[in-house]
Each structure stands twice: as structure tokens, then as C-alpha cells.
Amino acid sequence: MKANVWYGREELRVENVPDPKILNPRDAIVRITSTAICGSDLHIYDGYIPGMLPGDILGHEFMGEVVEVGSEVRNLKVGDRVVNPFPIACGACFFCQQKMHSLCENSNPNAWLAEKLWGHSPAGLFGYSHLLGGYAGGQAQYARIPFADVGPIKVPQDLSDEQVLFLSDVFPTGYMAAEQCGIRAGDTVAVWGCGPVGLFAIKSARLLGAERVIAIDRFPARLRKASQWADAETLNYEQVNVAEALEVMTGGRGPDACIDAVGLEGHAHGAFGGYDRLKQALMLESDRPPALRQALTTCRNGGTVSIPGVYGGFLDKVPFGAVVNKALTIRSGQTHVQRYMQPLLELIEKGSIDPGFVVTHRLRLEDAPRAYRMFRDKQDSCIKVVLQPWADVPTVDADKVEETGRILH
């Protein structure tokens, strides 16, 4: 099959690799019909994620058709159309029982590695660091899904791929970020970053009853999306002083909740921006957290700072004094996608939200290296790329696919 393979910083190749096989009784194999590039894939692309090995297949936002199931998978059958959640969860452990699927205790075969860094290991993830299992990802024509009886959700045929694809990650991630804000009537929510996760957080904050949502970014196209799609007020941090603007907008009190949907490659101007870049370049700091710093200092007393992030390692000059002295609540976590898929699918079916709105680019899987660069550099106002693994291949016949793949190369 064809797959998007990581070979190093800014080095991706779409090439032929062996097809995935069932390895465990609860596995399933899906033929992928749509797969997306996530903002967190860009951290891998830029070389900020430790524990990658050259040869890793990327991608954790994908959907498709079940083509094979293991002996213990009873809820799925060949032909089912499914969307797959990015964390791998067993459904039986202490955390899964509490619907905290991204903390599954049984899905990371390299748990000890993650424990060295974080003390305890979260769930395994598709197409990510070997710290998180090193599972082959879904920017490919096929993928193996472990614990397929717990993760993938069946979706109705009348919804298009783009309407349901983002149930795999960014929609639940934005939704959980907003839900964790504990929004009450009259609340103002500020959201840093208007990429896909930020946009879904903004939209979800609205759905959850926020009175005002303030979107912060530096790209006009993204800010425009935020205001068009979710009626957000917008702040371009290259044009206004965000801290001051938030003061003025909220009567000096600050937003009731702040969401950091930027994560570890945040941009900042001035002294702190340079400071972070230098420290990150010298490997003295793994993550650049300007958005988090600002969220903590601008959030109102007793407010909530929700951090979908992503952050991976060690952050510098985070004003933790603000957390204590302003009695802030911090909420974070990789998304418990399995918990949100069904209720959010219902929102889509009801027509409350059309997630396809974030898509700006539709490309072939072969275009992945170009698509990553475009997405990273926000060329052509890129917000979300969907890749089609079978764009040039009309049949499902595996032998023919191999051939076609070779010819294309």
C-alpha cells in the first residue's frame, strides 16, 4: 500500500510499504477513504516530537471501510463505514471504565518509555512517537486498528466523509477543550489559535452556551473563519495588544475561561519570543508556550484555563504564580475521543454543526509532503488538509494498487 512515511525533520516520502495485518484478536483493518493532517503532525514534521524513528507512518485522523476483523471483534463487520479515534483504548481498564480513554493503561507497548518522561504513560496513539506506542498511522491506504471493538464508530452513509472525518480528533478535541471550561450563561471565552482545534473550540463554546467568544490569531483568513462560522469577536495579535484588548472587552475582569489551542510551537514577538526560540534551538526548552503564558495572565480570577495544546515536555517561564494567586483551574489532556464520538455524531446528524467547514484543501495522499509544508507555513490560507489515499486508483484490488503505486512513483 501507499503510505506517508516520516524520515526526519521536514522529510516525508509517500512510498510503498507492506499492507497491515491483523496482529491481535481485537484488531481490524480498514481501507482508508479520507485522512487528514493534524496540527500535532506538524510538530513531528518540524522535529519537536521525541521518540520518532525514520520509517514511521504518520497520521491519526482517518476513516474508512472495514475490510478485515480479528476473531474477537463482534460489533464490526466487513463493509462497515467507520471513523477511527486517534487514541487507542482497551475499554476495560480503570481509566477506560471512567471514559478517560486517552489514559488507557493497556494500549501503549512502550509505556515504560513514556513513564521515564512523564511519570506515567497515557494511551497509545496512531502515527505518533514511539513514546506513545509507535503505532503505524493512517496517512496510508490501509491501517490496522487495535481494540477495534472499542474505538471506531459506525457512521451513516448519508453523511459525507468530510462531515464525519473530524470526529477522529479535532472536533472532539475542540469540544472537550470548551467543555472543560465549565461554561455558564453569560461567560466570555477567549481562544488562542484559530487552527482546526481552535475553530472547533470556538464553535463548541458557542454550542455550550458561551455569551461571547474571542478568537486570537494572526492570520486574517483564520480569524475570518472564526467570525463567520461561530460569530466570534477577533483579535489579531500582530495588530493589537491582546492583554489590553481583553481588559477593555471584559470590563477589566478578564475572560471567564481561556483556551490554549496553540501548543508547543507558539509564536510571539519581542523579548519572550526570541527567548523561547533560542532556548528551544539549544534544546534547553522543549516547548514554546507564549499562548499559555498569556492565557494564564489574562484569565479572570477564579477562571479556567483549558489546554488542548499540545505540549510535550518542559516549559519555561510559565507564570504559575498566577495560577495560585488568581485561583485558576487548569484543565488539559489528550482528548478522550471515544467518549465524544457518539454525542457529537448526533450533533452533526441534527445539523447543529457541519465540521466540513474547516477544510480548505483536498489533495491526494501523494501530495502529503507538499501539503505538510503548505499547512505549516499557512500558504494559500491553508487551515485543514484532507488527503485522499485512493484518488487515482479506482479499484480496491490490492495487487493492482501495488502496481499503480509503483507506476505513480
Binding site: 516520516w6 496482529l23 520509517g55 507512518i57 476495560a92 493497556n106 490496522r144
Partner: protein, 350 residues
């Protein structure tokens, strides 16, 4: 004594009289009166009294590395001049090396490799300085530097050897001179103690989650034959006997004859508070320096026996809770580098 750790009065006499490494147990002066719980606590703590002096030597070397490294990076010419070396680039590299060694020694729990990295660095420095001493025109300074480095090298070697010798000291008791190893690891499993016990008691199940085991065959109610394979084709066989058993609560065992894997152990299934399943607690007791007796087991468990047991327990949990063991072996990948192939071949697990 050994058995008291495991909380088995009965086994105490058994082991000291006929079981593993009896001479060692006596010669290290262990009396049977020490409360097991206290020993266990101390066993889990790292280096109390006995390792104190070694600790401060390592700390000193760590800070020395930092100081020298900072100086060499910040003022390569000055340090180069003092040591009779000419190239500031080399001095900077030396500085970086010293800094990384220093940070490693001061921050990492396993300091031995970092101390050995200092020893290797020292060797390099000695060679370079000897060259400067024999050939250079600044022989005086080079000579002084050579003598200084030789002194530091001696300290490094002492510290590194001491640490490597007591590496298993992560688990040994803190009292100097004692050579029993006592390990205890536990895992929380969302199944009842009875279910966990039942699976474990069918000893044929054990190879499913204990990575180095090839097979376990039950000989009769109490005795079982074990075959294990270790790294580099090591193969071990032994016969174990269950010495105590409380269904749903505990199984204790020990090896029968001088099999090269002499040990005593127990697994307890404790009801976790709040109806949260079971805490499965494994204790293992063996004598790594007890002649040939425990040596095979040491090979089997590798340099980090705690982790090995922890990984096996993690796999036990996976089998109990999910019916399978999470894996990526056999999944598709792109072209792996040599490093990638090696890590993939051996798995990233210990």
C-alpha cells in the same frame, strides 16, 4: 530472613536451612529477627547509610564536570592556555562533553553510564595531554594538567566502579556488605483477586506474560518445571515448589535444587480499596553473588530486574483486562535505519 520479607514464617527456616545461598545469608550476618516489613521498606529506598560517601563523591565529580565544562565553553582559550592545549574548538568540545556528563551525573537516577562517560573522557584527555607533554613546548603546564587529570581519573574510576558494583543496589538493602536482592513490584488490575489468582495458579499461563519464560509444566500439585531463555541463548531450567498458598490471596514458591536460578518468591492478590480490583504484588528474593546459585537468574533478569518484573506485571494486567498484549510487531513501516531495525527487532520494551 528472606522469607520474612515475603511474610512467610514457615519459609524462613526453609530457606536459611536448605534454600538459596545459605552460606551467604549467614555470612552477611542476617538474623531472623528483623521485621520483614521494615526490610522491605528499606529495600525499596535507595542507598541510605552505606552509599552515602559514594554519593557525595559522585556529586562532587558532577559539579566538577559542570564547572570545568562551563569554563571550557566560556573561556576556551584561557583553559587551553592553562592546560597547554592550543585549539579553542577542541576546548569547547571538551567543555560540552563535561557539561553533558555533569548534568547526567547530577540529574539522572542511573549515574553509572555518565560516570563511565567521564572515565572515557579522561582517557582521551590523558592521551591528548601526554602528546602535549612529550611534543609540545609548554611542557610545564601540560605536566601539571596531566597530573591533575590523572588524579581525577582515579576518582572517576573509583566512583564508576563503586556505582556499577552496587547497581543492583537499587534494590539491595542499604546496609553495606549485604548481598541479597529483594525486589517488590505491583500492578493494579481491574479484576477480582480470585480471577487473578486463578489465572496465575494455572502455571502453564505464566509464559503468556513473562517474557523470558518458554514453558512451565506442572509436575504435581506443588512442584513445577520451568524453562526460560535469556539473552544470547542462555537457557535455564529449574524446578519450583509451592511453599504456601491461600486461594485467592497468595502463592509463595521457591526453587528446589541448585538450578542456577535459585530464588524464592511470592505473589499476593490484594483487594484494592474502593472496589477497584486487585493489587497484584510480586516479591522476589535471590542472591546474585551467591556463587553459581543465583547467577543464572541475574542473567535472566538483566541489569534492571525491577523493570523486567514491572513489564511482566504490565503484560499480566493486559492479558487479564483485555485478553491480549498490545503490540506493534509485524506492522508496516517504511525503511528503517540500522538503529531502527535493532530497536524494532528487540522491541522497545526491556
Amino acid at each position: 530472613m528472606a522469607a520474612l520479607l515475603i511474610g512467610r514464617e514457615l519459609m524462613a527456616t526453609d530457606i536459611t536451612q536448605q534454600g538459596l545461598g545459605r552460606s551467604r545469608l549467614h555470612s552477611s550476618g542476617i538474623s531472623g529477627s528483623e521485621p520483614g516489613a521494615q526490610f522491605a521498606r528499606r529495600g525499596l529506598q535507595r542507598g541510605s547509610d552505606g552509599l552515602q560517601s559514594a554519593d557525595s563523591l559522585e556529586q562532587g565529580l558532577g559539579w566538577f564536570s559542570i564547572a570545568l565544562g562551563t569554563a571550557a565553553v566560556a573561556a576556551p582559550r584561557l583553559v587551553g592556555w592553562l592546560s597547554g592545549s592550543r585549539s579553542p574548538t577542541i576546548m569547547r568540545l571538551v567543555g560540552m562533553r563535561e557539561l553533558s556528563a555533569g548534568i547526567g551525573i547530577l540529574t539522572q537516577t542511573d549515574r553509572a553510564p555518565w560516570l563511565w562517560s567521564r572515565v572515557i573522557g579522561d582517557t582521551f584527555d590523558l592521551a591528548a595531554l601526554s602528546l602535549a607533554f612529550t611534543r609540545g613546548n609548554r611542557r610545564g603546564r601540560a605536566g601539571v594538567a596531566l597530573a591533575a587529570v590523572a588524579g581525577v581519573t582515579a576518582l572517576d574510576v573509583i566512583a564508576a566502579l563503586r556505582l556499577t558494583g552496587s547497581r543492583a543496589g537499587q534494590a539491595t538493602s542499604g546496609v553495606a556488605g549485604r548481598i541479597d536482592i529483594y525486589l517488590e513490584r505491583s500492578v493494579a488490575v481491574s479484576k477480582s483477586p480470585e480471577e487473578c489468582y486463578r489465572f496465575w495458579r494455572r502455571l502453564e499461563n505464566l509464559p503468556r506474560f513473562m517474557q523470558s519464560l518458554e514453558s512451565v509444566r506442572q509436575l504435581d500439585e506443588q512442584r513445577s518445571h520451568w524453562i526460560a531463555s535469556g539473552p544470547l541463548g542462555t537457557r535455564l531450567e529449574w524446578t519450583s515448589e509451592i511453599t504456601a498458598e491461600r486461594p485467592g490471596e497468595e502463592i509463595a514458591w521457591r526453587t528446589l535444587e541448585d538450578s542456577g536460578a535459585a530464588h524464592a518468591g511470592s505473589v499476593r492478590f490484594e483487594t484494592a480499596p474502593g472496589g477497584r480490583g486487585t493489587i497484584v504484588r510480586v516479591s522476589l528474593h535471590y542472591s546474585p553473588l551467591g556463587g553459581t546459585l543465583g547467577a543464572g537468574l541475574v542473567k535472566l533478569l538483566g541489569h534492571d530486574p525491577q523493570s523486567r518484573i514491572r513489564e511482566d506485571l504490565r503484560r499480566f494486567k493486559q492479558v487479564m483486562e483485555t485478553g491480549e498484549i498490545a503490540t506493534t510487531r509485524g506492522q508496516p513501516t517504511g525503511r528503517r535505519s540500522l538503529f531502527g531495525r535493532v530497536t524494532q527487532q528487540w522491541g522497545l520494551t526491556v
